[in-house]
Symmetry: C2
Subunit: 773 residues, 2 copies
């Protein structure tokens, strides 16, 4: 570690003080002069035809500026998402298809008036049958949308090798049916946006993971060219994928255009549940074929995934759920049938893990079944099937580094696995699950593959890094500052960072795919190198400072090794020499070694891949009361850039995984009403619920990432639920193939099992008596 000054250190968050002192400016803190406020009227039913929609009474209210419905929006249908199916629109047209669908919006002089006016909008509905579950959708007796026959949004079939013959020739086959519901990302800050329309131009203040996609959406809906739209990036109170697709900035912009002024909107918490983009609920039928030594041979899977009423990032999430987890193991063949289906659920999209937690829940439990069947230690079974650095996986992933085996070793140590397994106690159980993810994949835009960064040194010595991605709480702003600090030898406090203002930064595809440290980090380091070169050149060519180099925050003689001037002095000299212009270092990351995959999705999708092993220890009593006693989370994330924040990412992800395993659920009931409409009902894990978390990193040094870094953002959420489910099986002998696994579920399953056992005992003794009789 000693080779670096700022890398691998717990450097304090650059946005920390602002956040904890309440001085950070979030979107709802934006107050602009002459602002109108908007509120949306959401659908009363999850599926209905709009028979009548009369806004005249609302329009007549004092203080109401305008009331708008789909009819007022020529480009309502153009609302689209990157790479997605493009079947969504902003305002409901003739039909409402989920509770949360927007029927109308009121713009008024203040929020209270806008809110009150909603009650004066007269809507008459004709209720229609509701598609409330994936099984309903697949059965297709009722339709979510009259324009989508069979409720099918996206069919996907991929076969690698010959699964049929591989299954036929296998020694062992195991399998099951697994259910993972829709989850809410539950970022604490509700969506808020303020849009300013002025002379054909738009300025929109909001929070997002994808500033430039937001700009694209706004342009599509309003008709204002992208070059006339500026997104002013605000501080973000959490995202976790939820801000990969947000209708609100487009709605606010549209309303601002319609009233030719400034319009502000802020969601209530209820609207965050009803009308945002939670994750996809999924169901899996999965089976694995293996030989008797436990070598995986083949995998077959059928997947149903819940798009909700319209598509968001649901197609990409479904694709990842179909493929990604397989790549951790040496399968000979795989077959997947993916079915993206419409239901009357709110449209679903990205959540940390992007489909990977869902699939790992199914796969890692099926592997556990195999271990039980073969009576093998599940850690050994996995070790037997892992890839190594240099391998290419069944779907084409190429591993420059792969620390999964070391992760397993470390996890076993942290859990004291072997000892606890040897001394197995009744009512106690151990579970393990592995994980794989991508880092630096070509997410977002087909014709665009990389990212870039600008590092601006101004005459005053001010150093500002400009990048088009977002800080969403993950700490990337601090990480990037550390990289530049290390490269220039300047204290992190001296580097300012601007992330995502579309008028200032490079274009980017945003914060997603856990790709920032790997790709954007490389661009930032390259920008710092370029800045140094430019300074050296200007000093050399124009200021008579020959043979110098920038390091350690100053300019030194290349040969003399003596400090010639501070970086501040150099900044002034270089800028004045160029008549005041800042010196702008340019860096880019071009992932030429990755691709989008062929038509079947085969290809090396990312420069690097993070791996991890997660474990759970549980105790269960006879009534189903269970407790997760301990969680272990070990990750190969390449070089660790910030020890404190990497740990923070692990804790955060593990807690979210724990919540998904034990309590969280955003399914709808038969009437299309959400199981949870408040945080209290949704029951995320609180500080009192969380078990001790033991974590460690395996620092492989990636050849592509900055200083060898890969990523940490998404992985920690991925395998917590299957680890807990596997531990519960270990403790109870019951397979919990559906989350959330609440005590009530455990109790019921235990009772069912006891009843079953009793029944079998009775039958056995009856048979015995009969035989004896």
């Amino acid at each position: 570690m000693s080779e670096y000054k700022y890398i691998g250190k717990p450097v304090r968050r650059v946005d920390g003080v602002a956040k904890v002192t309440g001085r950070a400016c979030f979107s709802d803190d934006v107050i602009l002069p002459r602002t109108y406020y908007a509120k949306e009227l959401h659908a009363r039913y999850a599926h209905a035809k709009i028979l009548k929609l009369d806004t005249s009474r609302a329009k007549a209210l004092p203080g109401v500026i305008g009331v708008f419905t789909a009819k007022d929006i020529p480009m309502n249908r153009k609302y689209f998402r990157m790479g997605a199916i493009g079947d969504a629109w902003l305002f409901a047209e003739n039909y409402v298809r989920f509770i949360g669908d927007v029927v109308a919006a009121v713009v008024a002089v203040d929020e209270k008036t806008a809110e009150e006016a909603l009650a004066y909008i007269d809507v008459e509905y004709e209720q229609l049958p509701i598609v409330a579950s994936l099984q309903d959708a697949y059965a297709a007796e009722n339709l979510t949308r009259n324009d989508k026959p069979g409720n099918v949004a996206m069919p996907l079939i991929v076969e690698r090798g010959n699964t049929d013959s591989d299954f036929a020739g296998a020694d062992v086959v195991v399998g099951g049916h697994f259910v993972f519901p829709s989850l809410h990302q539950l970022h604490l800050e509700p969506n808020s946006a303020t849009a300013v329309y002025n002379q054909g131009k738009l300025t929109v203040y909001c929070a997002s993971q994808v500033w430039f996609h937001i700009r694209e959406d706004i342009s599509a809906v309003t008709g204002v060219p992208e070059k006339d739209i500026e997104i002013k990036a605000q501080m973000i109170g959490g995202a976790f994928g939820a801000r990969n697709d947000q209708p609100m900035p487009a709605v606010a912009a549209l309303l601002a255009c319609l009233v030719k002024g400034t319009v502000k909107m802020t969601n209530t918490r209820l609207e965050e549940f009803l009308a945002c983009r939670p994750s996809l609920g999924m169901e899996f039928d999965l089976s694995i074929a293996a030989d008797k030594e436990g070598h995986f041979i083949s995998k077959k899977m059928k997947l149903l995934s819940d798009f909700g009423a319209y598509s968001s990032d649901s197609d990409a999430v479904t694709a990842i759920a179909c493929f990604r987890a397989d790549n951790n193991y040496t399968f000979k063949s795989t077959y997947v049938e993916g079915n993206g289906l419409y239901t009357n659920h709110t449209p679903t999209g990205a959540y940390r893990g992007f489909g990977n937690p869902q699939m790992h829940f199914a796969l890692e439990q099926t592997i556990d079944m195999l271990a039980k069947k073969l009576q093998m230690d599940p850690t050994e079974l996995r070790m037997k099937n892992y890839h190594k650095a240099g391998d290419t996986s069944i779907h084409g992933f190429k591993y420059a580094t792969n620390g999964i085996a070391e992760c397993m070793q470390k996890a076993k140590e942290l859990m004291d696995w072997d000892k606890k397994r040897a001394e197995k106690k009744p009512g106690r159980g151990l579970g393990v699950a592995s994980l794989i993810h991508c880092s630096g994949s070509k997410a977002g835009k087909y014709e665009f593959s990389g990212t870039s960064a600008l590092l601006r040194l101004e005459s005053s010595g001010n150093l500002t890094l400009l990048v088009g991605e977002s800080e969403i709480g993950q700490g990337i702003s601090t990480g990037l500052v550390q990289l530049v600090s290390e490269e220039l030898g300047v204290d992190p406090s001296q580097i300012k960072i601007v992330m995502g203002d579309t008028a200032l930064t490079p274009f980017s595809t945003g914060t997603n795919g856990s790709k920032l440290m790997s790709s954007l980090g490389s661009a930032a380091v390259s920008a710092a190198k370029n800045l140094k070169e430019q300074i050296q050149q200007i000093l050399n060519n124009h200021c008579g400072v020959l043979h110098c180099e920038v390091r350690n925050g100053a300019v030194y003689g290349s040969f003399t090794d003596q400090k010639i001037m501070s970086l501040d002095e150099a900044a002034k000299k270089c800028s004045y020499t160029r008549n005041g212009s800042p010196i702008v270092g340019f860096g880019m990351f071009e992932p030429t070694w990755t691709d989008y995959g062929d038509k079947t999705g085969y290809g090396n999708l990312a420069p690097s891949y993070p791996f991890g092993v997660q474990m759970a220890e549980v105790s269960v009593d006879e009534y189903g009361n269970y407790k997760v006693e301990k969680l272990v989370s070990v990750h190969d994330i390449g070089r660790v850039i910030n020890t404190q924040m990497a740990a923070g990412q692990v804790y955060g992800g593990v807690v979210q995984g724990f919540g998904s395993a034990t309590t969280e659920n955003l399914s709808i009931n038969a009437e299309g009403v959400y199981q949870a409409n408040t945080i209290l009902e949704y029951k995320p894990a609180t500080a009192l619920d969380i078990p001790p978390i033991h974590m460690a990193f395996v620092e492989t040094v990636d050849p592509y990432g900055p200083f060898g870094a890969k990523c940490i953002a998404e992985p920690p959420i991925i395998s917590i639920a299957p680890a807990i489910a596997n531990a519960l099986y270990d403790a109870t002998g019951i397979r919990f193939d559906q989350v959330p696994i609440t005590p009530a579920v455990v109790c019921k399953k235990i009772m069912e099992k006891q009843t079953e056992e009793l029944k079998r005992e009775r039958e056995a003794s009856a048979r015995k008596e009969e035989a004896n009789g």
Copy 2:
């Protein structure tokens, strides 16, 4: 004109619609969360010792956050101005020296509380004698400041050639004493500033002509390094020099640091009069020696100029008043004794013309005296003494172009001078005055001579020009956009401009010296050329588009002359090729052919010089009621970039000159109280007062300016007052050697003259009778 598409056209103001629709955001429109409000307590007397200053009662008021005096500010004395004497400080220390001196400042939860708390600050004063006029200051019986003996701020003596022998050998000598009072720039928008202190960093929202000097001032006063200060440029409601030195941003920043929060201040109109930086009042003793054909030989001048209590830009203004006007004529020798003096007037500084209107008032009337004495047409007398292109003036100005003779010719036509002069009617008079100014001089910073511009082309096709200077209403933003439009062949509506945000733009010395079109315009054109080159190179090297060139808003084949793609398409291609980075064109202007002058001020100060001739026609009745019947204003400004805005500049300047000639006066009375404390009392000219203005341009084509442009900003104000005074002499035979020339003054002078004539008649008839007797 047809050679250009956008140059020389009345292109609409880029900021026009925002301003007229009230959507422009001025400093006082800035509303930030968690803002405190500050008010200043100003001195009750123009000169007094502070015996007691007790803020405890004010501090105790509910809602008051803090009350601060000089004692709370370690760096109070470090408040300084560029190139100035550095004798000013923000808060009065022990003494107050003008009504408006700041004794204390209150920071409170709202403006009303801050205002109320002022009354609870207990101050005891010991009144001291007041230095109320330049004559008082020069006599030095009383002192404005106990630290400045003789009230002398700045002595300056310069002699070129031998004036004594030249005067001795001359045929004719004329001279007079001329008085020009302090004037207020009267920009409509009062100063307002909002400063945000956050973790050692400052963000200040304000309006200024000199963003980077403001930043320097704030750093000096607060101790926050410049690199940690960001000035957020707001829309500006007029400046005219007044915003070349504004204490308010530094005060707001200081208070924000002291309360560690956000502080907003906005001046009342009264404070704009009391505590800003109006122009320097001046008095001249000036005489000219000539031969009998009217060739000027020599000039002698003694100047008193009123710095007020502290220095602002007063030294630079005084220096210009000592030199500049001379350069319009072929003097053999000149001598000047300049005396910058302290009085108990508010500190004085820059106002359109920067000392030049004051000196022209004296010089152009003295030339008129010579014409009368030699019985020559004053236009002919001037024509005899003008420089021509290629000449070097007595102070070292070198004229690449000089259209003064053509200006005179055109002015005579517009006034119908020869005919009116031939048909001279009683009670009517004609007056003429010439003018010279600088364009593109090295104003601002000794080690820094030029300016630069960045032109950013973003993936969306958005084109943004970034410059560090200010739009202060003069229209330069539109002018710069036109230059870039012409160079790229893109419609002006497609080019955005950012002016003066210190975190975004190049460093600059600001908007002053009428230098922007000439110097910044050149930089903007050069940035556009550079952008074109970069696009061509990227397309050629990375996109396989060989031999192309950017013109007419698109990319064309160099040889085929066929359109290959639009500029928007090229933007996307180039940016994506560079992984999202914008393409940033860089342009600079380095005025290597100009210098600061030697120790005596001799040198070529600017790349180009604008010239002009202004004329007035007046009618006067026997009671002194006079009317300016017509004004003529003809200017050599090089190539006219925007016909409508250039005309607007002329109208605006002429109206200000008219106001200074006829009504405006910001002198203090014997108690140090201003003659005017409201706009009503100050009486600027209104639409009803303004005579018909006839204007024209002489378009010399400057070799240095963009497309041949020089400048138009300051000149139109310069010679209106002497033209009116000369016309009044022509009508009445009375020399009005002091402005404002109110009807009361004219009436008094006419009565004095009549009395004098009556007396002389009586004496003559008495002598006659005596002789007869």
